[in-house]
Amino acid sequence: MGSNMAECHPVAFRWPLKARTEHDAVLMHVDPRFTRTSAACDLHVPIRAGSDIAFLGAIINHVINSKRWNEDPFFREYVVNYTNAATLVNPEYKDTEELGGVFSGLAPNGKSYANASWSYQRNPAPPKGKAGLGPFSDLLLQQVPGRPKTDPTLEDPQCVFQIIKKHFARYTPDLVGRVCGCTPEQFLKVADTMLNNSGRDKTSNITYAVGWTQHTVGVQIIRAAAMLQALLGNIGRPGGGVLALRGHATIQGSTDIATLYHSLPAYLNMPDGRKNHETLKDFILTEGGPAATSYWGNYPKFAVSYFKAQYGAAATAENDYGYNYHPRITGDHSHMPMMLDMAAGKIKGFFVMGQNPAVGGQNARLQRKALAKLDWMVVRDYFETETAAFWRNSPEVISGELKPAEIKTEVFFLPAAAVAEMEGSFTNTQRLLQQHDKAADPPGDARSDSWFTYRLGKLLKEMYRDSPLDIDWGVKNLAWDYDPEAKEVAPWRIKDEPSAYRVLKEINGYTVADQKPLPTFANLKEDGSTACGAWIYTGVIPEEGKNNAARRKPDDWISPNWGFAWPANRHIMYNRASADREGKPWSEAKKLIYWDPAADSGTKDPAGNPVKGKWVAPSGEGIDFQPTKAPGFIGKDAALGFDWLSGNDAFIMRPDGKASLFVPAGLVDGPLPTHYEPYESPVKNPVYQQQVNPVAKVWQVNGNSYHAVADPKFPIVVSTYRVTEHHLSGTMSRWLPWLAELMPELFCEISPELAAEKGIKNAEYVTIQTARGEIQARALVTRRMKPFTIDGRKVHEIGIPWHWGWQGNAAGDVANDLSAMVGDPNVSIHEGKVFTCDIRAGRKGGRI
């Protein structure tokens, strides 16, 4: 669901196809369009864009009320032990069933939630003695709450399981028919296939892509899938899971080592002026406290080691490791508000590296016009992208709306090296780090991206070298020495490339005293004796001179000696759940890791006798659990991290060790997925009185107008998407003659029914219009698209790929000129997968 895998991730799609041909796997595709993926699946079920939660919620409802799920003890054992189904929730909690589609805690203005009523019921906090764990950890320990109360019979009306049962009771096959537009029979086929192919001997997988993220309820769609998989016992087991198919070579790496406003590397939160983050202690207690009973109990070690990597010798215990000099965020500084602030003249200087917002950004017209408000902009890329050329020949310049003479932006284009022309690593969508070697120098003045940032940093550090000012301390003291050894650059013309190895070693972490790489994150300290850029990558350089990302020894299953999967070469996260409560594999067919009671643990008891028993993985898979913790171990109440977690707490990054069917804290739009209509929709919400996600991110500003619900001017649903021959905004594909010729022109997929209504003929031009903009495209009239009947009304849907712009060998209008800036409240991702529009025959300006 939410993915056209055959088209967008074709090489990965070989594996489900192989499972189908060699192991009789059933492939099902639930998607608004019939695509190349649908063609290769056993079943395609068309659903209206934006109705995914209704569909998934109904599967959850179907599963937990089914005979199989209630009678096969596997499901009960998995769910009671590994999820929070048994946990009791605060009696103050009120569900959408009681409040017309919203949860308790909604502010009077309806724009934000307070989550106190979503909390767990807990036992009294345990008494804590003097621990001697470390300066920050001792304080963290004082915050550890009592254990959550549970009812393992799942009967208590306040237990998570009963709350879920009530919450999804109205998500019936008939409701799916009304909301999604498929038949109840089609839905039941999918639900039963999932159910019957999950259990002790079989697992089912759900794979998605941006078809799920690009919604105002994106996070909750993925949550719904994760809940279903947890209820079916499909998490932490081979063949199970919820897999994200991501779209750039290291989009995973750039999320892990975040070039994102809200996150420090390795999922530490960014210091925030709005929170209690005054000192490093405040920061650690605020951010580490809520999850201190999970592996996040090591937050002090991760944080201190990050600041040691950032400021090197200048970071000391006395100056809070430089924390005072680190920037704080003060709001949502993500892509869309960034461009709006740019349009308002707040941003003066802009680095755009390997991205093309003039085409790829939502409401791209507004984003292009924002570039004209800058004082200066640096673009690094291979070709003259639309972003680089906005001042010269953008649609706004051609129309006369912008005049080059009046655009004051000083623009630099710096040519970039290709991947084959530099050494470095990418992290793929499976969290696997893979090294690429340098094959040749880049041509002319083209340089690697790292060269640019390293050189810029050196120049700036030189400028700030003698500054006595507090505000310059952070840049002046930035640890910035990645000069290569002579042998690293000996074969090359360019001698001042930074050493990729030295950078990766700092990411991995090392002991400050002897500069030796750390083999595991268990070696990190909170006293400043270790430096580590991103703790989740520790182990990629386990010893000096050894790079696990460059391992290239494949095998026929997990391939533990090919690259390096973070964390600690664990390919399937939470894989403790691949064994039952006692640590035995659920079945021979699905064996992955298990407890071997006879194996030598390598440890000794207080009397000096060897201790028997440890977790083993014959495949070489990394064990995502404490290696010698027995399945029956009972965690200590007054403890942090692993010491708090018990032997059946498989979900070691969760504060209760359990998969969160219900999320007491961490989401801003409710503890459970709920069907809301897309922000722009042709129908009223058939499920609740509440129309849209009440806390969705909305920007009511000039140039970003929204369409009303069931707006007669914009009655048609539109989705944007990709084709296999192009890559995203096209900067890496539209300039390549092979790819440009394979897919030369923008088109719009239209059902024969809509074409007949509008007098549109195949291959002729159509014009698509929204309140944001207007584009033209060739009509592709096809039975792959079909109208839906939603709540008794006919709803047309069209589809437009978004790869084109006015530059390159294959040029076309910018599909994102149509879309609006509106976003998911948790992560600020836009709703490009569904909005409304109108369409007519003929070109823009009335030409045929």
Binding site: A249, V419, R447, P554, P737
Partner: protein, 200 residues
């Protein structure tokens, strides 16, 4: 760049070869004829350098072939990769044209404020100019403290150590090592508008 159909076909046939054939095999298409033809396509020889596909996040293995003169002459799928087993999609199979492309810019281009044209500039000049602009913009718009909501309808002066005048966009197509260096430098400077494609 003008490309004749003949030239297009000539170059295409050399690249698609085994990858597509292997994929179609799984779709139930008889690929024997294509495989036989692929076997006759001359394979470029040279030093083989292991690499990773620059396009999506599947992470297919590539082998970059380098001639004795140090030129990249071919980029193909890496049969050792347990992810891709030698196959590539149309984009991955076209990677060679991303590297060797007449339209690729290899010098610094500069557009002065209000100008209607690009000028060519030395790399070193551009780096110094960009560093100066970065410092000037940062210093003119740096916030040590800021009044922020105190949660009780008032405001409170908080230390923020940031600048809202600089922004950075991009990163998902660049190395992990770059992402690390760049976030480090941006955080060193106080930049908070730091974003990449993970948001789209």
């Amino acid at each position: 760049m003008k490309l004749s159909r003949r030239k297009f076909l000539k170059v295409t046939s050399g690249v698609v070869g085994g990858g597509v054939a292997a994929e179609l095999g799984l779709l139930g298409v008889n690929t024997a004829a294509a495989a036989a033809k692929a076997g006759k396509v001359p394979i470029k020889t040279g030093r083989q350098v292991p690499s990773i596909c620059p396009y999506c996040a599947v992470g297919c293995g590539q082998i970059v072939t380098v001639s004795d003169a140090g030129e990249i002459v071919d980029i193909q799928g890496n049969p050792d990769s347990p992810i891709s087993q030698g196959t590539l999609c149309p984009k991955g199979a076209a990677t060679f044209q991303l590297v060797k492309n007449e339209q690729r810019w290899t010098t610094v281009k500069y557009r002065a404020p209000g100008s209607d044209r690009w000028e060519e500039k030395p790399l070193d000049w551009a780096m110094h100019r960009i560093a100066e602009l970065t410092k000037k913009t940062r210093d003119a718009h740096f916030n040590e403290f800021q009044e922020l909501p105190d949660g009780k309808d008032g405001t409170v002066k908080k230390r923020v150590m940031n600048t809202y005048a600089l922004a950075s966009l991009g990163g998902a197509t660049m190395d992990n090592e770059w992402n690390y260096l760049h976030q480090k430098l941006m955080h060193g400077l106080g930049v908070v508008y730091l974003e990449n494609q993970a948001r789209i």
